[in-house]
């Protein structure tokens, strides 16, 4: 009798233990108050750069197979500059994704900030060069700029992204 009672109690406690551990209250992100996130994906311009072949490249190739120029295509990089409260936090070239850097360019950054007001300046500028291969109109503009003041509450995330409709950088999420 006593044994059955104990067996029942232990089984109940173990089952309740499973129930409790199945819903452990946890705060995954304690460290930051708010965040500013930069995330977008764009197509850059594909260019072709041609040059005359070097003597070395010509040697050994029969005359009728010699090319007058050697052309290589590539996708132009963008330079991303971000200042947060007048401090430069990013200043670097973003290349196309993929091993040959010919896939769309992806920007994906996140900055933890304290709650409150912050000034953000973003510039995204395509490098110059080469002969354009893609229809320029379908592309992201050569320069994108955004300068704004964000008032962030606790736990809020402001998303700065590229809006294909207006073809400009916009702020989303924040304040919603």
């Amino acid at each position: 009798m006593m044994r059955s009672l104990m067996a029942g109690v232990v089984a109940l406690v173990l089952t309740a233990g499973i129930g409790g551990l199945s819903r452990w209250e946890w705060e995954a992100d304690k460290t930051s108050n708010a965040a500013i996130r930069l995330a977008w994906r764009t197509r850059s311009a594909r260019v072709q750069e041609c040059r005359p072949p070097t003597a070395e490249e010509l040697s050994g190739v029969p005359t009728h197979m010699q090319q007058r120029e050697i052309c290589e295509g590539r996708v132009l990089a963008y330079r991303l500059r971000v200042s947060l409260d007048s401090q430069v936090v990013v200043d670097e070239d973003i290349h196309g994704a993929g091993a040959r850097e010919d896939r769309p360019i992806v920007v994906f950054r996140e900055f933890e900030v304290a709650e409150g007001t912050h000034t953000v300046e973003v510039s995204f500028e395509r490098e110059d060069g080469g002969e354009m291969l893609t229809d320029n109109l379908a592309l992201t503009p050569a320069t994108l700029e955004l300068s704004t003041r964000l008032e962030l509450n606790k736990k809020e995330i402001a998303l700065i992204t590229y809006d294909t409709e207006t073809r400009s950088l916009v702020v989303q999420g924040y304040g919603m």
Partner: protein, 497 residues
């Protein structure tokens, strides 16, 4: 656990079968839930299941609790086979496929939680993406998918749902591989245990159902929310690590687990030799072939002058448990150091050394269980230690009784605790139910008693010993026999000649 639930229903002894049973529960409850899940509105549809659909909340909670209980039972199952050193040699396949099951179960749990798309789901998804993004597989960071826009593409939830349905199917295929080297795998626990576990989980689902956590919001940093420790326990650890270090830890741990069969394998000289068959003595009774818990014995056509079949051991499948030694009346099969003949020689020595003719009780004990008395001794009575109770030939017991012991206490692991799976079961059937090679009718069965005790249950051995002493007092004392020759009766003369 035995004290509370008796060895018959000790859930630890049935951890593999309990896990399998829970997988079936998950399958059934999952099929119900999937009818109400919408990839176009994941959170809302789960919310609807939780709040509106008749039963929905209970079934969802039952599905959830069963998946948690499965992790617990896998952990115990794994720990048990590890502690019992059942990880190497012919059991390598079971260990490796077990690890596969563990991995698939966790991935399945991950997809299950992502399906709900609450805060926990988002944290799991973002953390998972952070790990995948350091691999050079994807040209674009997939983590971006979760954070750019409010509405996630339903393609993502479709893929996730597909995995959550497909992976359990692979689990059943892998379970089949997992137990493929085992004869008569126990895939379901005893009915009483099955229904108790189901009853407890259903009861908790009704009384304390799972409710919705806050919905995932990609524009808010994850707030405090309920997390499932069984599937998300790694989050607090990996959150502190760069993804590369996390991978290193995962790869390190997985390699270690995968190497367990190699690391736990004893040195070559210590590995017991597999069973062999003395074909001249085998009369093709098939009993060893039936009894072997690892399907290591086949019956093949004889190649010598005699006709018919003969037992044949596949050494690569044999775990040297010795169980076949006790299956064979003519003592023609068994690992070289454990076969019936070697046991008889050993028992003769034991009888002389321990002066068995003068003993009230002699204990034959299994080295893996029996309160650990083989290793630590038992001051009250002489102990004849064996590798596995299932390997004790009944002739050995007969010998001890006829040599003068008033009683023989066979102290063995509880049936479901046997390291070789079926030892105690076959042993007691040979003593009490005339299973081949049965205890001969000329032996008074009251002179032999079986006591089930695990390695941790020394008090049980004491109790059984005291009870047996008291019961033996009620019997008349018997005289020892002289010149016992078991082989006269046991082994056919013409073969012996």
């Amino acid at each position: 656990m035995n004290a509370l639930y008796t060895w018959r229903f000790n859930p630890l002894y049935h951890s593999g079968a309990v896990t399998q049973m829970l997988m079936v529960v998950l399958m059934v409850t999952g099929v119900y839930l999937i009818f109400f899940y919408r990839i176009s509105a994941p959170y809302e549809s789960v919310d609807r299941i939780t709040n509106q659909v008749w039963f929905g909340r209970w079934i969802r909670s039952f599905h959830r609790y069963a998946s948690d209980a499965a992790v617990v039972s896998i952990a115990f199952h794994m720990l048990r086979v590890f502690v019992q050193d059942r990880t190497w040699g012919p059991r390598t396949l079971a260990w490796i496929s077990g690890l596969t099951l563990l991995f698939v179960t966790f991935v399945c749990g991950w997809t299950g939680y992502v399906m709900v798309w609450d805060v926990q789901a988002m944290v799991l998804a973002v953390e998972g993406a952070r790990f995948l993004d350091v691999l050079p597989i994807f040209s674009e960071p997939i983590g971006r998918t979760f954070v750019t826009s409010g509405a996630l593409p339903s393609a993502f939830f479709f893929l996730n749902l597909f995995l959550h349905v497909a992976l359990p199917l692979t689990i059943f295929v892998v379970i089949w591989i997992h137990v493929s080297r085992i004869a008569r795998p126990r895939l379901f626990p005893p009915k009483k245990l099955t229904w108790s576990i189901i009853g407890l989980l259903v009861g908790m689902s009704v009384i304390w159902p799972i409710l919705m956590g806050p919905e995932a919001d990609v524009f808010r940093i994850a707030e405090k929310a309920p997390f499932d420790v069984f599937y998300s326990f790694w989050l607090p650890i990996t959150k502190l690590m760069p993804a590369g270090l996390g991978w290193l830890a995962v790869i390190g741990l997985s390699t270690l687990l995968l190497l367990v069969p190699l690391l736990t394998r004893p040195a070559a000289v210590e590995i017991p030799k597999p069973s062999t068959v003395n074909e001249a003595l085998c009369d093709a009774c098939r009993q060893c072939y039936i009894d072997c818990p690892y399907e290591a014995i086949a019956m093949i056509d004889r190649e010598d002058s005699k006709r018919g079949q003969v037992a044949h051991v596949h050494p690569e499948l044999c775990v040297s448990c010795g169980i076949c030694s006790a299956s064979c009346a003519p003592m023609s099969v068994g690992p070289p150091l454990q076969n019936g003949r070697v046991q008889l020689a050993g028992v003769k020595e034991f009888i002389n050394e321990e002066n068995v003719a003068e003993q009230k009780v002699v204990i034959v004990a299994c080295g893996n269980g029996a309160g650990g008395i083989v290793a630590n001794g038992f001051p009250e009575a002489p102990v004849l230690g064996v590798e596995c109770a299932g390997s004790i030939h009944t002739s050995v017991l007969e010998y001890l009784v006829r040599a003068g012991a008033q009683g023989v206490l066979v102290a063995v692991c509880p049936p479901h605790d046997c390291w070789s799976r079926e030892g105690p079961q076959w042993m007691s059937e040979r003593i009490y139910n005339d299973r081949e090679a049965e205890l001969q009718p000329r032996v008074d069965k009251r002179r032999i008693r079986v006591a089930y005790a695990s390695a941790a249950e020394l008090p049980v051995v004491y109790r059984e010993y005291q009870n047996y002493l008291a019961d033996l007092d009620k019997l008349d004392a018997k005289e020892p026999e002289r010149n016992i020759d078991i082989s006269d009766v046991c082994i056919p003369q013409e073969i012996e000649a």
